[in-house]
Symmetry: C2
Subunit: 751 residues, 2 copies
Amino acid sequence: MRFFSLPFLASLGVLAVPLVAASPPPSGDILGFTPASSRIQRDWENKFRALPDPARMRADMKLLAARPHHVGSPYDKQNAEWILKQFKDAGWDAHIETFNVLFPTPKQRLVELVAPTRFTAKLQEPPVPGDPTSFQTSEQLPTYNAYSIDGDVTGPLVYVNYGIPSDYDELARRGVSVKGAIVIARYGQSWRGIKPKVAAEHGAIGCLIYSDPGDDGYNDGDVFPKGPMRPADGVQRGSVMDMPTYPGDPLTPGVGATKDAKRLALKDVKVLTKIPVLPISYGDAKPLLAAIGGDVAPSGWRGALPITYKVGPGPARVHLVVKSNWDIKPIYDVIGQLRGSSSPDEWVVRGNHHDAWVNGADDPIAGQVALLEEVRALGALVKQGWHPKRTIIYAAWDGEEPGLLGSTEWAETHAKELAAHAVAYLNSDTNGRGYLGVSGSHVLEKFINGVMRDITDPETGASVESRARARSLAHASAATRKDIRGRADLHIGALGSGSDYTAFLQHVGVPSMNLGFGGEDQGGVYHSVYDDFYWYTHFSDTSFVYGKALAQTAGTAVMRLADADVIPYDFTDLAQTVGTYVTELKTLHKTMASDVVEHNREVADSGFFLTNDPRHPLTLPKAETAIPDLDFAPLDSATAALTRAATRYQAAFAQSMDGAATESFVKLNTDLLQSERVLLSDAGLPNRPWFKHLLYAPGYYTGYGVKTIPGVREAIEQKEWPLATTEIGRVSAALNAEAALVDRAATELGH
Amino acid sequence: MRFFSLPFLASLGVLAVPLVAASPPPSGDILGFTPASSRIQRDWENKFRALPDPARMRADMKLLAARPHHVGSPYDKQNAEWILKQFKDAGWDAHIETFNVLFPTPKQRLVELVAPTRFTAKLQEPPVPGDPTSFQTSEQLPTYNAYSIDGDVTGPLVYVNYGIPSDYDELARRGVSVKGAIVIARYGQSWRGIKPKVAAEHGAIGCLIYSDPGDDGYNDGDVFPKGPMRPADGVQRGSVMDMPTYPGDPLTPGVGATKDAKRLALKDVKVLTKIPVLPISYGDAKPLLAAIGGDVAPSGWRGALPITYKVGPGPARVHLVVKSNWDIKPIYDVIGQLRGSSSPDEWVVRGNHHDAWVNGADDPIAGQVALLEEVRALGALVKQGWHPKRTIIYAAWDGEEPGLLGSTEWAETHAKELAAHAVAYLNSDTNGRGYLGVSGSHVLEKFINGVMRDITDPETGASVESRARARSLAHASAATRKDIRGRADLHIGALGSGSDYTAFLQHVGVPSMNLGFGGEDQGGVYHSVYDDFYWYTHFSDTSFVYGKALAQTAGTAVMRLADADVIPYDFTDLAQTVGTYVTELKTLHKTMASDVVEHNREVADSGFFLTNDPRHPLTLPKAETAIPDLDFAPLDSATAALTRAATRYQAAFAQSMDGAATESFVKLNTDLLQSERVLLSDAGLPNRPWFKHLLYAPGYYTGYGVKTIPGVREAIEQKEWPLATTEIGRVSAALNAEAALVDRAATELGH
């Protein structure tokens, strides 16, 4: 284990530190468990956490990442069958569930500079001596963005920075339009699918997306194979399907893509891009960017290439061709279960995808091998006599990369059952070295904090919670530090999109969490041929101790959710978090209002005229419409109601766990099971009915990034004031319903 | 005039804007003038401001920048003689005052990488086709840093970012020492002389300073000759004399370097560097930096070269040789005067240097040609019958570039006269396109605001004050905007060092100001052979309208200072500004105290241990000594006294200017003349007695950058608590003395 040794610590003169920092041995009651149940549970957990084996994870990764295993490839199917065998060998009731999904693959790709000079992009990632799997060129998917429409376009090139809406505002101030142009955007700041979406809305006819060396190339460290960062020819593949509208198979929105499902005609699909898109390397991007003229790009737009970044349009002209095979391909979800002993109709679901863009050692095999160790360890516990109260379902999803296909189709197929039975969904995906990152439903915030306190960080010997807390403090402002120190639980982030929890949380309303370690390893091989066993075992969690920690964390969480006497939701953290969201919305609205006032004052005072450089003039802005008032009182009142109910429930819960008969919790658990579902709207979010959760959604213009209370927040951002008021009403109603449910739950506890 | 045309404005649909933005015609009383005097003054000023001629400035620049004219060169002397002739032709009483100063020039320069590969730096700036003066290689000073000691050293290379003290703290956290190493620092963030000074304090044996393309190269725009930015082989020459200790001739601190002055032996000079230093281009720096290994540099340390910036030490090893001719050279200050009619013993001094590193079109000829237009225009006014009340002295300084030599030796030689007679010193240096930048003594803040309101900006037709105000507002926080809008006068900056005002303000206590336009032109030719007529007339104030505006601004200020009935100092702006400095000091002290508390808490909580990455470990910090309390009450009380006196004086002044006999102001003016001198300390600042001003000084560890209330501020920064208390006492005493003087002045006004 190269990452930690006592001599290293001694040399720093900090021998005493591990003693004070080490986590106390697990003790005390576990959230949702009576004292008696807690004692039994701790014994089983201790047995469980001893089982995950780094050597086996290493071997599993070597095998699963041995060949390219994207959707439709032979090795994708072979992996699914091998994973199924692992489930069965471990004693699980397991099967493969197959769906048939639209999955385009490249038929023709061309990027050429046609003026002022000529250059044809390579669009190839070369093999690297020493890295055996990088030579598997015949099986590798070419570099492309899946679900780009077909197209053959030629136009002047415009550099649009990250290609997010505010970048187009900057261009407009410079009098630069992308109408009829091909845009080149760098990866980052938004999910990639947003870039062609926004470009098309502004009239662009094509889109290139490149990886700037300032974002994941040589700027941050040595490039592969000397170091972990992206080499000059490395390309980030990826989906550009409009997932903020709906993820999953584009032909079967809202229903499972089973063999006989009713399918949309390709022409009626709304989630393909409107313009052709291709990703390119910085090796290919450099001559294109260097050929762009016009204004020098704003300082925040400049990457790490040794050129003067300019915005265009032209004189660079680009010819872009994208043509795909629009085939239906089978995907293979591996589903295993351990049936619950006393509450089989309450389900705890855990998943990680198995498909990759190429070899995918980090993404997703690093998470998949942890999941497989959980499968083996839980199976071993069952053989030793452990019987989970609730049903445990483990899934190895296929088709995540193109568009969360496997998880979405499965969740859509089983939506009614999930709505009736699912306690929680726990997801993982990539995994690295460092700190546990947790995002998820805030009803699970207190629960996962309890888990984190009981998991040992392999580098420091302290608890995973201690490390995460220390990291939050190290980067915090004084105000944030005070908040962190004054709160029992660490805040967890909210979930947007970007992995397989999406359908569970945002379409069905299953309380969900995403778990993964990271922050100490960096890399630039994401979605390239170089995300492989060689890269992972040289630059990431090389000894798989964080793979073990992930298996311990997720597995412990699954066991607790499966065995708890009362489903371990807590509503005080939820209520407090909703309160901060409401405060954010008010601040957003207030800031927009004062910004408009200031803007209009500067217009009236000729401020923009007086600061305009005639040699580099910006378009002088006009006065803007004042921001109207917005009545947040319904949200305040609903948040207050939820807070009262949550406090009452928490008090009742604390009194009830000591010595109560566990049978008395049956009705309570049935009610609790619906608590996240209450936060959904059948009608869904404005313009995207598939997304039904009123608290969490991926941003319509940010992609993976979450927007909390999305209906209200996006209405404010888009200045749709009547809609904002309507959405405040819908969210407030849901929060009031949640408060009523929690209040009933407290009553059921007899307090 | 390419910078402005009505059709351009019309096309933006803002035809009405110039009407509202245009400055009102000058009217009302001028600060320090009775109503009757104001009327007469405005007539003369209007005549004056019509005279400066862009075409003549262009011709003057072409001539003065036609050949390299550094100290000791034939063309330096020729320029001085030509300038003298301009003074005389304009009717001034003028002469050349010669000093003899130490001025080293290169004899041997070598930078070679000797491991792991070999590379010899070019150390040459090549001629550029189309730019005639770039071909004058035989007359150009080689690229070097003047006042580097001689040396021949070889050692491992360490990259130290900007080479300021906090950069060495970062290196120490990574366990990197520069003892026995050669450091390479990038230009920027501090004055260049700080870099070898701090490097030597940390044990380095040599220092390279390079211009990173992220700071003034291709990152910001096209490089010369296509654009204004620094090309790959461009080098920033410059002095590395320890000017924060004392500027001027190193051999004659505190006295004029006249022929017979007593001189230090070279070995006793304290202001040479302790280690050899050379500046290099980014063309030369790239292979050196690319050869450095070790940790990847922190993200804020990375420039725009296409490499992974690492800190070292080694494996790169560098051989550095610097040898100079240590000659005494003559410098030629051109001094002209217009003798005052009624108060000849009150002097208004105005200067701009004429020497350059090479051709120096921007630095300093852009300012020098404006000064010459003032000389001609004031001479013309005298011929028309204008007789300034006070004596006006104009100076074209030599030897500014090596170390403010000409101005310092002149001010030291005439220190007693200046202390007795000088009303103000007005400086300029480079000049460009855009906004007027003003820094200076705050007794002149209200005065210069009045001047700015009466000068028309050539691009917008608005007043120079309106543009400066609009710019401040455009970049301000909400709190700062409120301050700006609530205050009659725009804040002016405080003066550190970096041009010829230094000796006047900080050694003699003459209220000083530095004036120059800029902010709309950028460039990367500073101190290179490419700062020449070709560059200036392609990329800067190409039509010399801002040269005209500078002549109008400085000339108007000189005329007002020379003719005012009461010397136009105001003490309310000073008192308020001192108040903000005191608040800054308290905040600095308080922040340091709370930072130490937080630091020690994180030490105690093992926070640094828990966030330390074992693969890239940082040295774990230890607990620090708590910051003691500091009694700021004396400063608060003195500031309050000054505020009271200033308010009383301002009221008395307002009542006195209307209809008073101007003779009654004679005694008052004599007293006012001493108001800045009261803020000096004979003993000077701690460790640097040459610097006597208690409110303004260049930072001992920042160089040009000002430290206000430097004795107290630097004592706090260096954690010298007893010294901080002593300095609080000294500054408070000076402020109390100033308050007493202002109070007496108010009494003299009869109120």
